[in-house]
C-alpha cells in the first residue's frame, strides 16, 4: 500500500482500546476503522474478541459492521465464532424482520464448520417466517448451506421445503427459491451427482410464468433461466411459454431482454407453426437493436450474442444494417463486433452504404481496426458477387493511399478475391506488383507471391518478380518460402522455357540451405514430381481450386445450438463452450485443499503440496489464458480462419495457427480446406495440407513426413513463458 503504516502493534492496540471504550460513539468509530483496515488487507484478525463484544447492540448499522467483520474472519477464528452464535440465534427471533433476515443472511456467510449445526434450526424457522423478506433471504441461505455441507441440507429436508416454496405467494421469494435451487443443482452436477436436484416440471413452469410478471428484474432473469431448462411436452406448451415470455422483450434491463430471447430461441424449436415462428423472430429485432443504446460493455455483450443469433437466423435484422455503423467514439471492442455483424447483414441492396462506411473506417488511426475494415471489404466481395467489382475498386483506392499497413492488408484481401473470382480482376495485378517493395509482412508477401504464381502466364515479368524473392529466399519467413517455392513451380509449368534456371535455383536452395522441414519436404515433392512425371505435376500444382465461400457460421452447428441456449452467459459471449474456461474438468482450489488435508498429516508437507498444486494450477490457468487472448483480441471473424476450439490444448495449438497465413496459402494440392472456407477446421495442424479433392494425390509417401506446423509451437511456447514470468 502507498501509506506506510505505523507500527502494527501500536495501531491495533489503539483500536482494541477504542473498541472497549465506554463511549458508544468511540466504539462505533473504532469498528469503522477496523473495517477500513480490513479493506486494504491489513491484518486485523487479532481484534476478533474486541469486535465481537460490540455485536449486541440496537444500532443496526453497527451490527452490520460487526457482521461484516465476522464474515471476513470467521474462517480463521472458528473457536471464537462460537461466542457469537448465541447472539445470532437470538436475532433470528427478533421482532424486527430486518434483523431476522440480517442474522440468517450473515450466519450463512460465516462458513465456519463449528457453527453450522447451530444454523439449521433458525433456518428451518426462517423458511416459514411470516415476512417475505425473511423467507427470501432464508431461501438463498439454503444454497449457502449446501455449498458448505450438502448432507445437512438433505438431512434436514431443506430441498423439499424449497420445492414447496416455488408456490409462495410472494414473487421475490419464488425468484430466490428458483435461484437457490438452480445454484444447488449446478453444485450437485459439479460434484458428480447424477440425479437432477431441480427438475422443472409443468406444474412449476405454470407457477413461474405467473411470478414472472410480478417480480424484480433480477428475479425475472432467474425465472427465465429456469424456464429455459424445461423441455416442453408438446408444441402447444412451447407456444404458450413463448407467448408469455415475449412481453419481457420490452423490459428496460438488457439481461432480462437477452435471457427472454434465449427462452424463446429454445422453445421455438418445439413450435410447428411457421407463422408463429416468423412473428417471434420479427418481435425479436427491435429489442435487439435497442440494446445498442446501452453502455458500451452491455452493447458488446449484446453484439456478441447478436452475432450468434445471426448465424442461426440470418434474417433477423435484415433491414437494420445502418444501426451497426460504428460511431467515431465507440470503444474498439464494440467497433470490431459491429464490423463483423455488418458483413453478416450485407446484401446486394445495402452494399453501397456499407462500402462507403468501410472505406471511411479504413482511414482511421487504429491499425487493428483499419485492418479489420479492409478484411471486411474482402469478405463483402466474396459474399456478394454483384458487389465484387465495387469492392475491388475501393481496395484499389485504398492501395493508392500508400499507407504501408493498408496496402499490405489490401494485398492479402485481394488474394482471397482472386480465389473466389479466378481470372476476373487481372487488371489489378500491375497495381499490386507496383507495391512489391512496400511489403514487409510475411502474409502480404506470401499473398502477392501466390497471385504472381497463379497468373504467371499473364504477367510478362513474372520470372523477374519471383527472382527477387528467390534471391532473398533464405532470409524470408517460412510461409513466404513455401509460397515462393510453389509460385516458381507454377511459373515453370506454364512457361518452362524462361524459368528453367529459376526453378533449379529455388529447389536447390530450398532443399539444401533451408532449415524448415516443411519447406524442404515440399521442395523434394516438387522435385520428384517434376523429374518423374511433369504431366502429373501439372495436374497437381495447376489443378482447378474449388471456389471459396463465406461460411455462415463460425462454430459447428451443434455448438451453435448449445451456445444459443446460453445467451447471454459468458459462453455465448466467447462463442466457446463453458467447459473451456470454467474449471469443471479441472480440480478447483477448494477441493484441492480438502484433498490436501486428507492426504498428509504433516502440516508442512500439506503446505508444500498445496503450493506446488497452486503453482501447477496457475500454470494451467495461464496456459488457458493463452487461448483466451486471441479470442478476446480478435473475436472470430468471418473469413479469418477461425477454428473450433474443442479442448484447451487444441485451442492453444489452433490459436497459434489462426494467425498463421499458412492456412490460407497452402493451396498447392488443390486442397479443399482453404483460407476463407473455415468450416470447422480439423484440429489436426496438418489439415491445411490435406490432399482433398485432388484426383492424383500420391499421398502415402509424403504425409507422414510432414511435421506439425513449426510457427504454431514456438508462439504458444513463448506466450506461456511470458505469462509465467509475471508470477
Amino acid at each position: 500500500m502507498s501509506m506506510r503504516a505505523p507500527p502494527r502493534k501500536g495501531e491495533n492496540f489503539e483500536l482494541a482500546a477504542d473498541l472497549n471504550s465506554e463511549y458508544k460513539e468511540k466504539r462505533k468509530d473504532a469498528i469503522k476503522r477496523v473495517i477500513a483496515n480490513m479493506t486494504v488487507q491489513k491484518d486485523v484478525s487479532g481484534l476478533f474478541p474486541d469486535v465481537l463484544k460490540n455485536m449486541q447492540t440496537d444500532d443496526l448499522e453497527q451490527k452490520k459492521l460487526v457482521y461484516l467483520y465476522l464474515m471476513n474472519y470467521a474462517k480463521t477464528q472458528p473457536e471464537l465464532v462460537i461466542l457469537a452464535v448465541n447472539t445470532f440465534v437470538k436475532d433470528t427471533d427478533d421482532p424486527n424482520p430486518l434483523v431476522r433476515a440480517l442474522a440468517i443472511r450473515t450466519m450463512g456467510c460465516l462458513r465456519a464448520e463449528k457453527i453450522i449445526d447451530y444454523l439449521c434450526d433458525p433456518l428451518q424457522k426462517c423458511l416459514k417466517d411470516d415476512n417475505p423478506y425473511v423467507r427470501k433471504t432464508a431461501a438463498l441461505c439454503v444454497a449457502k448451506l449446501y455449498d458448505l455441507k450438502p448432507e445437512l441440507v438433505i438431512e434436514n429436508g431443506f430441498l423439499e421445503q424449497l420445492r414447496d416454496m416455488i408456490a409462495d405467494s410472494n414473487p421475490m421469494v419464488v425468484a430466490n427459491t428458483v435461484e437457490a435451487l438452480s445454484d444447488i443443482h449446478i453444485a450437485a452436477v459439479a460434484s458428480g451427482a447424477t440425479k437432477d436436484t431441480f427438475v422443472v416440471t409443468t406444474d412449476i413452469v405454470n407457477k413461474l410464468l405467473v411470478a414472472l410478471n410480478e417480480c424484480s428484474e433480477w428475479g425475472r432473469v432467474a425465472i427465465l433461466n429456469a424456464l429455459s431448462r424445461y423441455t416442453a411436452e408438446d408444441a402447444g406448451e412451447s407456444e404458450h411459454i413463448c407467448e408469455r415470455v415475449v412481453p419481457q422483450f420490452q423490459h428496460a434491463n438488457a439481461s432480462v431482454v437477452l435471457t427472454a430471447i434465449k427462452v424463446i430461441m429454445i422453445h421455438m424449436r418445439g413450435i410447428n407453426s411457421e407463422s408463429l415462428t416468423k412473428t417471434l423472430i420479427r418481435k425479436m429485432a427491435p429489442p435487439l437493436v435497442t440494446l445498442l443504446s446501452n453502455p458500451p460493455e452491455v452493447q458488446w455483450v449484446a453484439l456478441r450474442n447478436i452475432n450468434l443469433l445471426l448465424q442461426k437466423r440470418p434474417d433477423i435484422l435484415t433491414n437494420e444494417m445502418r444501426v451497426f455503423f460504428c460511431k467515431y467514439n465507440d470503444p474498439l471492442y464494440v467497433k470490431v463486433e459491429k464490423l463483423d455483424i455488418m458483413v453478416r447483414l450485407a446484401t446486394e441492396h445495402n452494399v453501397d452504404p456499407l462500402l462507403s462506411e468501410l472505406k471511411e473506417y479504413a482511414q482511421e488511426v487504429d491499425v487493428d481496426f483499419v485492418r479489420r475494415s479492409i478484411k471486411a471489404i474482402g469478405q463483402t466481395a466474396i459474399k456478394i458477387d454483384e458487389a465484387a467489382e465495387r469492392c475491388v475498386n475501393v481496395l484499389l483506392e485504398l492501395i493508392g493511399t500508400r499507407v504501408s499497413y493498408v496496402v499490405q492488408e489490401a494485398v492479402v484481401v485481394m488474394k482471397d478475391i482472386f480465389r473466389k473470382y479466378p481470372s476476373t480482376y487481372e487488371g489489378v495485378i500491375p497495381t499490386l506488383c507496383a507495391n512489391l517493395d512496400e511489403l514487409d509482412e510475411p502474409e502480404a508477401k506470401a499473398s502477392l507471391i501466390w497471385i504472381i504464381g497463379e497468373y504467371a502466364k499473364k504477367i510478362d515479368n513474372a520470372d523477374e518478380l519471383l527472382g527477387i524473392f528467390v534471391d532473398t529466399f533464405t532470409e524470408e519467413s517460412y510461409p513466404v518460402q513455401l509460397q515462393t517455392l510453389t509460385a516458381v513451380v507454377k511459373l515453370y509449368l506454364q512457361k518452362p522455357e524462361s524459368s528453367q534456371g529459376l526453378v533449379q535455383k529455388v529447389l536447390n536452395t530450398a532443399t539444401k540451405d533451408c532449415d524448415s522441414p516443411d519447406v524442404r519436404d515440399r521442395a523434394y515433392i516438387y522435385w520428384r514430381l517434376l523429374s518423374t512425371d511433369p504431366g502429373a505435376a501439372k495436374a497437381v500444382v495447376l489443378a482447378v481450386r474449388p471456389p471459396i465461400t463465406l461460411p455462415r457460421t463460425t462454430v459447428s452447428p451443434a455448438l451453435l445450438e448449445e451456445l444459443l441456449g446460453e445467451i447471454p452467459l459468458l459462453a455465448s459471449v466467447y462463442h466457446k463452450p463453458a467447459e473451456t474456461f470454467v474449471g469443471r474438468g479441472r480440480i478447483g482450489a477448494d477441493s484441492m485443499q480438502r484433498k490436501g488435508t486428507d492426504l498428509a498429516d504433516d502440516r508442512l508437507a500439506t503446505q508444500k503440496a498445496l503450493q506446488t498444486v497452486a503453482a501447477g494450477q496457475q500454470a494451467e490457468n495461464l496456459l488457458d489464458f493463452d487461448d483466451d487472448v486471441p479470442n478476446d483480441g480478435q473475436p472470430s471473424g468471418l473469413a479469418a480462419t477461425t477454428v473450433l476450439a474443442s479442448t484447451p490444448a487444441a485451442a492453444n495449438l489452433l490459436a497459434g495457427t489462426s494467425s498463421n497465413p499458412l492456412d490460407d496459402l497452402v493451396s498447392i494440392f488443390g486442397s479443399a480446406s482453404l483460407g476463407a472456407t473455415s468450416s470447422p477446421a480439423p484440429a489436426n495442424p496438418m489439415g491445411g495440407f490435406g490432399f482433398g479433392t485432388s484426383p492424383l494425390a500420391p499421398a502415402p509417401a509424403v504425409t507422414p513426413v510432414l511435421s506439425p506446423q513449426p510457427p504454431a509451437q514456438p508462439q504458444a511456447q513463448s506466450g506461456q513463458d511470458d505469462l509465467l514470468g509475471l508470477f
Partner: protein, 431 residues
C-alpha cells in the same frame, strides 16, 4: 454468479472489496491490478484468466469490478455494475474516489443488501433509501411494524412504492427527453439518424394511483382513429418495471402504478422521419500542407418561436496546428490545442437562423507526420419544446380510490451530446 465485488482506484488500490462466495481469495484483486489496471492495452471489458472472469466498468477513474468463476450471465453482471453506479449516484451525488472513501461503510451496507450469495437482490433506490440511510437507524426506534412495511415493500409485487404516500397537491411532471444520434457525410447524406427517447416522470401522487399514459404511437392511432397524421412510428419501447408488459404486448396501452418521486418511465427508439434540428454544412480546404481553411455553417431547422441553446460546435484541427484565426457572427470560438479542436460556443440560436464560422488554421511543418484520423465535427445543443421524433404525449390519466384531482405537466427537450456528428471531408486522405 458474482463471486466478488471490488472497487479500485486508478492506481489499482482496492477501495472496496467484498467476497460473496468462497471460490475466490481476496488476493484475486492483485491479479486484476496486474492484468487490467496496469495494462495499457485492455481490449475487452471481460477478462478471463484461467477460470476466473473479471467484468469491469470504468467511471471517473474508478474501476467497478465483479469477479466470477462460473459461466455467469454477462449482461446481468454489467447491468448490475451500472445499477450500482446509479444507486451510488443517488446516495452520494457523484461516484469518485473521494465519495467512495468517505462512504465506504454505507457502500458495504448497500452491496450486502443488493447482492446476496452473488445474486442481485432488490436494487430499487427508493426502497433501499427507506432502510439504508446515511444516518444510523436504531432498531429500537423504528417499530417492528414499520420494518414489516418496509420489508413487504422490498419484496412485494409493487416493490417500488410505499402504500402510504400522501401529498397535499397531487402533481405529475413528465419530461420527454430525446437524444439525437446523427452521422452525416460531407455531402449532407444522412448515414444514420436515430432518436433515443427517455420519458422521465416525477410523480407526487397520493395513495396507490393507477396511471394510463398515451402517446401519438402510430400503432395505437392507426387502430383507433382515422387519419392520425402526426403519429410517430416507434421502433421499440422499453419500460420501467412498474409498467405491465403483458398489457402493452397485447393492446399497446401503457398502464402502471408509478414509484413515488422521480423515475424513468420508458425509453424508446425511433428511426423514421427524424427531424434534425440543426443542419451543419462544412467546407474545409487544406491549403497545401501549411494551412487549412474552414467555413462551417450552422442552420436551425425549426419554428422561429423556438431556439437552440447551449450550442457547442467542436471542429477538429490537424495535430500540427499552431494557431487558428476564428471569425464568428455570434458566440465565441476558441482554439483548444490540448484537444486539437476549435470550440465554438453559441448560447442561443433562434429558429430559422443561419450562422457561419470562418477559420484559418496555420500548421507547422513537422518532421514525423503523425497520422491524423480527421475526426468528425461534433455538435451539442438543446432545443426546448421540440421532439425530433415528433412524439407527443396525448394523455396521462390518474385513477385513485379517493378520486382526487391531479395536475400534470409535460415538457419536451431534444438534445445532442457527443453523438451528433458531421464528417468534414468528402474523402479522407485523398491527397
Amino acid at each position: 454468479m458474482i463471486s466478488a465485488f471490488f472497487i479500485f482506484n486508478q492506481k489499482g488500490e482496492v477501495l472496496i472489496s467484498r467476497l460473496y462466495r468462497t471460490d475466490l481469495k481476496r488476493s484475486i484483486a492483485d491479479v486484476f491490478r496486474i492484468q487490467v489496471v496496469s495494462n495499457s492495452d485492455v481490449r475487452s471489458p471481460i477478462i478471463t484468466l484461467g477460470s476466473t472472469s473479471f467484468f469491469h466498468v470504468r467511471i471517473n477513474n474508478l474501476y467497478i469490478v465483479a469477479v466470477t468463476k462460473c459461466n455467469a450471465n454477462a449482461a446481468l453482471v454489467f447491468e448490475f455494475c451500472y445499477r450500482f453506479i446509479s444507486i451510488a449516484k443517488s446516495y452520494f451525488g457523484k461516484v469518485d474516489e473521494e465519495a467512495v472513501k468517505n462512504n465506504f461503510v454505507l457502500i458495504y451496507e448497500l452491496i450486502d443488501e443488493i447482492i446476496d450469495f452473488g445474486y442481485p437482490q432488490n436494487s430499487e433506490t427508493d426502497t433501499l433509501k427507506t432502510y439504508i440511510t446515511t444516518e444510523s437507524i436504531v432498531s429500537a426506534n423504528i417499530a417492528a411494524e414499520e420494518s414489516s412495511k418496509i420489508t413487504t415493500q422490498a419484496t412485494g409485487s409493487t416493490n417500488w412504492r410505499r402504500g402510504d404516500v400522501k401529498y397535499k397537491k397531487n402533481e405529475a411532471f413528465v419530461d420527454v427527453v430525446e437524444t439525437v444520434n446523427l452521422s452525416m457525410s460531407a455531402k449532407g447524406t444522412v448515414l444514420r439518424a436515430d432518436v433515443d427517447g427517455h420519458i422521465l416522470m416525477r410523480a407526487y401522487l397520493s395513495g396507490t394511483p393507477e396511471c394510463k399514459f398515451g402517446l401519438n404511437d402510430k400503432l395505437v392511432i392507426d387502430k383507433n382513429e382515422r387519419g392520425g397524421g402526426d403519429a410517430v412510428e416507434l421502433d421499440d419501447c422499453r419500460f420501467h418495471q412498474c409498467v405491465r408488459l403483458d398489457e402493452f404486448d397485447s393492446t399497446r396501452t401503457i398502464s402502471f402504478v408509478p414509484p413515488d418521486g422521480e423515475f424513468e418511465l420508458m425509453r424508446y427508439r425511433s428511426t423514421s422521419n427524424v427531424k434534425l434540428p440543426l443542419r451543419v454544412i462544412p467546407t474545409v480546404n487544406e491549403i497545401g500542407t501549411s494551412a487549412v481553411s474552414y467555413a462551417i455553417t450552422v442552420k436551425t431547422n425549426f419554428n422561429n418561436k423556438l431556439s437552440a441553446t447551449n450550442v457547442v460546435v467542436r471542429i477538429p484541427t490537424p495535430l500540427n496546428t499552431t494557431n487558428v484565426d476564428c471569425k464568428v457572427p455570434i458566440g465565441k470560438a476558441k482554439y483548444v490545442p490540448a484537444e486539437n479542436v476549435v470550440v465554438w460556443k453559441i448560447p442561443r440560436i433562434q429558429g430559422g437562423q443561419e450562422v457561419t464560422f470562418q477559420g484559418h488554421a496555420s500548421l507547422t511543418s513537422t518532421t514525423n507526420r503523425q497520422v491524423w484520423a480527421r475526426p468528425p465535427i461534433d455538435v451539442d445543443f438543446q432545443v426546448l419544446m421540440f421532439t425530433s421524433s415528433g412524439l407527443i404525449v396525448r394523455f396521462l390519466k390518474v385513477f385513485e380510490k379517493s378520486n382526487y384531482h391531479s395536475v400534470k405537466w409535460v415538457r419536451y427537450l431534444t438534445k445532442a451530446s457527443g453523438s451528433y456528428q458531421i464528417r468534414p471531408y468528402e474523402n479522407r486522405r485523398s491527397t
